[in-house]
């Protein structure tokens, strides 16, 4: 059995959520999907390890979830949208999770984003046709 190689595998710093990742992280994503229901969130809170067992997580996956190792959970192939259901209620935004990949703080991450907008209005004026207030 072999996972087919894709051109997108070579894009640096990017993890495309394809069959290979979806397969290996299925139980993790399913656990996080259950958090759409408030009663499931409560059940998890009451006994995280037991809840992980219920979803058939491996021991290493369970450790990541119980320890709230958000970066580890992402590296284990969890889809970012399912990750959001785990991290947002715990005060960790999707931006904070992204920042963790670079070893910087959420604030630094947001600063870097703001820099992307510098000079934008002038740029759009030059392009022409854009609404500018």
């Amino acid at each position: 059995m072999v996972w087919k190689k894709h051109d997108y595998d070579d894009i640096p710093g990017s993890y495309v959520f394809d069959g290979r990742r979806a397969h290996s992280s299925y139980a993790l994503n399913k656990l996080f999907y259950s958090f759409n229901e408030e009663s499931c969130r409560k059940e998890f809170e009451d006994d995280p390890a037991a809840y992980c067992d219920k979803f058939g997580l491996t021991e290493s996956q369970k450790k990541l979830v119980v320890n709230q190792d958000f970066l580890g959970v992402l590296r284990a192939g969890t889809n970012i949208y399912y990750m959001a259901k785990f991290c947002i209620p715990r005060g960790v935004s999707v931006q904070d999770a992204g920042a963790a990949f670079q070893g910087i703080s959420g604030d630094e991450f947001r600063e870097n984003l703001l820099k992307k907008g510098e000079g934008l209005v002038e740029r759009l004026e030059k392009e022409g046709g854009y609404w500018n207030g």
Binding site: D7, I11, N79, I80, Y82, P89, G98, A99, L114, G129
Partner: protein
């Protein structure tokens, strides 16, 4: 006969909904982004469309990864919003139009787009935030709405070209509906952004503006790009921009651009607003 009177594009990110809920639309961070919808609001108020088809991707509310339809269309009379896992207050439900949906689904399938038909469909922020940002919050929404979901989450995804062709088929489907009805198509998501990996946080203004120009004047340029090429330029989540091509395909060959707005960043993304009308109307 039903008629497509125009197409719009908009971001659908959760932060947009949060900003509306928290009353932050005139906050310095958000003001330029939200003010850029003004001309679209004016147009919608003037045209009063009967129905809007919102092309979006589900983020794990209605569809789990056990079953991921490439293209799905709501075929119900009503669509509910629900909590996505962090305590969001659901909006009022959206009225659909089952007869119209089933006609569109049948026409699309006859045109070899094998849609997943959904008689129950929870709509998440990908659908709800475009509705809120285009129409404001309502207990009774002023327009019927139909969700059309595209898988942009779990690869393999439909290609950009396939999305463009779906839009063209959607045009045929809508224009063959016997009842008089004015329809707007919203292409949502994008533009460039990447939420995870060491490359998280990319915003590619050059590429975003090129996509905007392509959607208006030369859709083939964007439609001919591969998933890998788009991800390379726009980021893993920026691939959502292919949904703009569904909207664009549903318009005619030539369009008039009535409004063009770009802002970056909003949260992690470059955000584009377009209002397009068929040139031959």
């Amino acid at each position: 006969m039903a008629k497509i009177i125009g197409g719009v594009t908009t971001s659908h990110i959760p932060a947009v909904g949060n900003a509306i809920s928290d009353g932050l639309t005139q906050d310095p961070y958000w003001k330029r982004f939200f003010d850029g919808y003004g001309p679209v609001h004016d147009w919608l108020a003037e045209k009063k469309p009967d129905l809007i088809i919102v092309v979006y991707n589900d983020h794990g509310l209605n569809f789990f990864l056990d079953k991921v339809p490439t293209f799905a269309i709501g075929c119900a009379d009503k669509y509910d919003n629900a909590d996505e896992g962090w305590g969001l207050k659901p909006t009022a439900p959206f009225d659909g139009d089952a007869e119209f949906s089933w006609h569109v689904a049948e026409s699309l399938i006859n045109q070899e787009f094998d849609m997943c038909t959904c008689q129950e469909m929870l709509v998440d922020h990908g659908f709800v935030n475009p509705m809120r940002v285009l129409f404001g919050d309502h207990e009774i929404w002023p327009v019927k709405a139909i969700p059309l979901a595209v898988n942009t989450v779990q690869h393999p995804l439909p290609s950009a070209q396939r999305c463009y062709k779906l839009g063209q088929a959607l045009k045929t489907a809508i224009e063959s509906y016997p009842q008089d009805m004015n329809v707007v198509i919203a292409g949502t998501g994008g533009l460039s952004h990447q939420l995870q990996g060491e490359r998280a946080g990319i915003i590619n203004v050059d590429y975003d503006l090129a996509c905007i120009e392509s959607i208006i004047n030369d859709p083939d340029w964007f439609a001919n790009q591969s998933t890998q090429e788009i991800i390379e330029q726009a980021g893993t989540e920026g691939i959502e921009t292919i949904m703009w091509l569904v909207m664009r395909g549903a318009l005619g060959e030539k369009v008039n651009c009535l409004h063009k707005h770009y802002h970056a960043p909003i949260s992690n993304t470059g955000a584009g607003v377009l209002l397009l009308e068929n040139a031959d109307l």
